[in-house]
């Protein structure tokens, strides 16, 4: 499969290049993650790779680091062609990668973690003192403040990242790849990280960092490469670029605004959220001070790059995650004090973002999946005994109504396509009479035909007077369906855009963390 692109490399340019990728293509099934990408990184520069989620940034870097093999294309390091079969080859060649998810051992000290796999030993025993001294020396030299003797389990995420960087340095890396390094950092920590990156460059090292955060790319990088949908858009010196141009290149012009026709039906407030805060699984604030309302007959969209608090918002509203502060009322009832079952009873229908985990039981039949959550009610059960006749008939009706492509109600859900599984979820959630629909990524991984059908169904629910909160990472979906779009960044609602004049550029700016004061009706 691996074939090099024809044409000899241009020798005069490679001398100054630390990394040169040529024509890299990587497919996962029919999905093309990287499509003929060329990337040249000069030695001694900070090179940012920017693009939306799913643009192919991480895939490209994983290929460079040997974690993935390209289907086509070639890699040159310092002007020499190389096949990077696995990460150990990359490490030997002077590459180092700091991943998004840290791989540290909590019960070991900082120095032990840094030297894990290449321990300094004396008389066959690990020489902790030497490891601590060497770690201290490196951390001083590059301004990576850590206490080498402390246990990693007690440290913050920011410090964990410094340890990962130290690990890379100890292994002799001259080119350091960082995958979304600032995603887990506080602004102060980010600033310190940038200083460290500059000190690397000052020592003649090369830094490649992946980001979807405009501000920091403008602040720290020398050169920017923009990726979109697996293709390279451009590589430009940062100094020549404005933020507007960058957003332009990132988001592109291909957002389709095939807006659904609608009648204005502003009814009563069904959901009111006020000053809502929540923590993520690492107990860091993930949702910050969110306030908004959803009325009946209204679709409110939540836009944002994935991982900016949308998941936590959905989980708090459905009772799956405790709020750490603030309130949310569903028809006057305080959600934050209720269990998931009680919230559903109060009038919530939830189409979860990950349908295979929270949406369906993949081994159960369609009938059983549609039954879930209402099995204790007549006519589905009487006196604790299920009435499978009624359940089957109901499933059969819904299969027709929602156009679920299956052989029958007894079919196991795992045999269906992604789109049809999603329709099973919709069939269950949209028919239980709830006034508030929480819909998270309804068309993720769904083919275009099913997408249309799902959008039709959401509009039908709107026309029936439901209040709908639609969370999506796809701007065109929000633009087509939402009456108002709230944009989230870093757990905060950055601003609001009316669906009628949704402007992908303004939304894109807010998604990248640029506040829009004139629009920030909801931010305090």
């Amino acid at each position: 499969m691996l074939s090099n692109t024809p044409g000899s490399p241009t020798l005069h340019s490679t001398a100054a290049m630390a990394v040169e990728l040529t024509g890299i293509t990587k497919r996962f099934g029919v999905f093309v993650a990287n499509d003929g990408i060329d990337l040249a990184v000069r030695r001694g520069e900070i090179h940012a790779i920017i693009g939306e989620n799913g643009a192919g940034k991480t895939t490209l870097m994983n290929i460079l680091f040997g974690l993935l093999q390209p289907d086509e294309g070639s890699i040159q390091l310092n002007g020499e062609e190389i096949v990077i079969a696995d990460p150990s080859v990359a490490i030997k060649a002077g590459l180092g990668m700091v991943h998004q998810h840290f791989k540290l051992v909590p019960s070991l000290s900082v120095a032990d973690n840094v030297f894990l796999g290449m321990e300094i030993r004396r008389h066959g025993l690990i020489d902790h003192a030497a490891q601590v001294a060497r770690t201290r020396e490196l951390s001083k030299r590059f301004g990576l403040q850590v206490d080498p003797t402390e246990r990693v389990g007690l440290l913050s995420v920011g410090i964990e990242q410094r340890i990962e960087i130290l690990k890379v340095l100890v292994r002799g890396a001259r080119t350091i790849i960082l995958d979304e390094p600032t995603a887990v950092l506080t602004p102060q920590e980010s600033r310190e990280l940038f200083q460290t990156l500059r000190s690397f460059v000052a020592e003649g090292m090369t830094v490649i960092f992946i980001s979807h955060h405009l501000e920091e790319v403008m602040e720290v990088s020398d050169t920017v490469t923009v990726l979109r949908n697996g293709k390279k858009v451009a590589t430009r010196p940062t100094a020549e670029l404005s933020k507007d141009e960058l957003v332009h290149m990132m988001v592109g012009r291909e957002v389709s605004f095939d807006r659904r026709p609608r009648a204005s039906l502003h009814g009563d407030v069904v959901l009111e959220v006020k000053d809502l805060w929540a923590r993520d699984d690492r107990l860091l604030p993930a949702l910050r001070d969110a306030s908004f309302t959803v009325r009946s007959g209204e679709v409110v969209g939540i836009a944002g790059v994935a991982g900016n608090g949308q998941t936590e918002l959905a989980e708090v509203l459905s009772g799956l995650r405790p709020a750490s502060h603030g309130m949310a009322w569903l028809k006057g009832q305080n959600l934050t004090a209720l269990s998931p079952a009680a919230i559903r009873e109060a009038g919530l229908a939830h189409v979860p973002g990950d349908r295979m985990v929270r949406g369906v039981d993949r081994n159960a039949s369609i009938s059983a999946n549609i039954l879930m959550g209402r099995q204790h009610r007549a006519p589905w059960s009487r006196g604790g005994v299920l009435n499978w006749n009624a359940i089957g008939q109901n499933a059969e009706t819904l299969i027709k109504d929602f156009d679920i492509r299956a052989r029958g109600p007894g079919d196991a859900v795992k045999r269906l396509s992604g789109g049809n599984i999603q329709k099973v979820v919709l069939a269950r959630e949209f028919t239980n009479g709830a006034d508030f629909l929480l819909i998270d990524q309804p068309t993720r991984g769904v083919d275009i035909g099913a997408q249309e059908a799902i959008h039709d169904e959401i509009m039908r629910q709107r026309a029936a007077g439901r209040a709908i909160l639609l969370i999506s990472v796809q701007l065109d979906e929000l633009a087509a369906l939402a009456d108002r779009i709230l944009v989230m960044f870093n757990g905060r609602i950055m601003g609001e855009v009316a669906g009628d004049d949704a402007d992908e550029e303004r939304i894109g700016m807010m998604m990248a963390g640029v506040a829009a004061p004139e629009l920030a009706a909801e931010t305090a």
Binding site: P87, S88, K103, L104, V105, P106, S107, L108, D112, L116, G117, E119, R121, G124, L125, I126, H128, V269, E272, K274, D275, R279, L283, P322, S324, H325, G326, M327, W329, G332, Q333, N334, T336, A337
Partner: protein, 328 residues
Amino acid sequence: MEILDRLVNVALIAATLRTTAPILLVALGGSFTTKAGIFNIGLEGQMLVGAFFAVLGSIWTGSALAGVACGVAAALVFALVFAVLVVSFKANEVVVGLALNILAGGMTISLMKAIFGTRGSIVGHGIVGLPKVQLPGARDLLGSWAPLISGFTPLVYVAFIAVPLLVLCYNRTRLGLYIRVVGEKPEAAEALGISITRVRYIASLLCGLLAGLAGAHLSLGYITMFTENMSSGRGFMAVAILIFSNGDPLKVLAGCLLFGFADAFSLRLQTFGYPSYLVLTVPYVVALVALFALSYRARPRVIAETLESMRKLLSVDKNAEPGGKSPS
């Protein structure tokens, strides 16, 4: 006070050390698998075959040492089977451990029947037990306290010396470090090119080695005979200790001493005419209380976090009482 003096004295402490040794050996073996991230309930079976084959080896060769070697070899075979199934074939470790325990129980009984034609126990037949080690000078040094360090069979000393050796192993050797990493964060080990399979095999075999020694100690040191199911739950006790000590050698030692003391104490109580059924529950009651005390203290951090934020909520925002109904 007089009763207390008769209950608690040098002999009781020496008895504690004796009852602690077999459980300590097997628990230290289990420490390797626990640290390597394997939940090994097969300790009981490994110990039992160790005890049986130690007796067999001692009869065949007429040497106690060769007997110990036989016991260890048998336990290693069991440990290897366990590792092949659990590590290589990724079978459920609880099922495999249980199966091997049952196999050990049945196998020793049928072999006993086949070889000695008896059921119940093997006594005599020329079993050579391990000699008691009388440390020279112990009596001069400690006087009446001498039984605390002298007069035990060799594997008692091995058990207690193994504790600091394991501490050293986990903290200062590469193998110990890798065992910990593989158990605690396998993805980190993988990313650094440490073979998880290899480390887990080594840990399983080290476990078999110590479990075999524990078994040999039971049948050649503790007493000189083999009886059906003579490990009598010590392997499971060790598993309980491992769960709440997380395999740390010093905590394992503390847990084993607690059990050993409860064991010795209950033996002592029986001589005072307390109902023996009640007295025999002492070690298990101690185990339950210890488990409860430890798990209560280790409540997850998240609960503390939630309590914290609730406190904040109640003190900062007066509207935010739980159950508040009306939207502002």
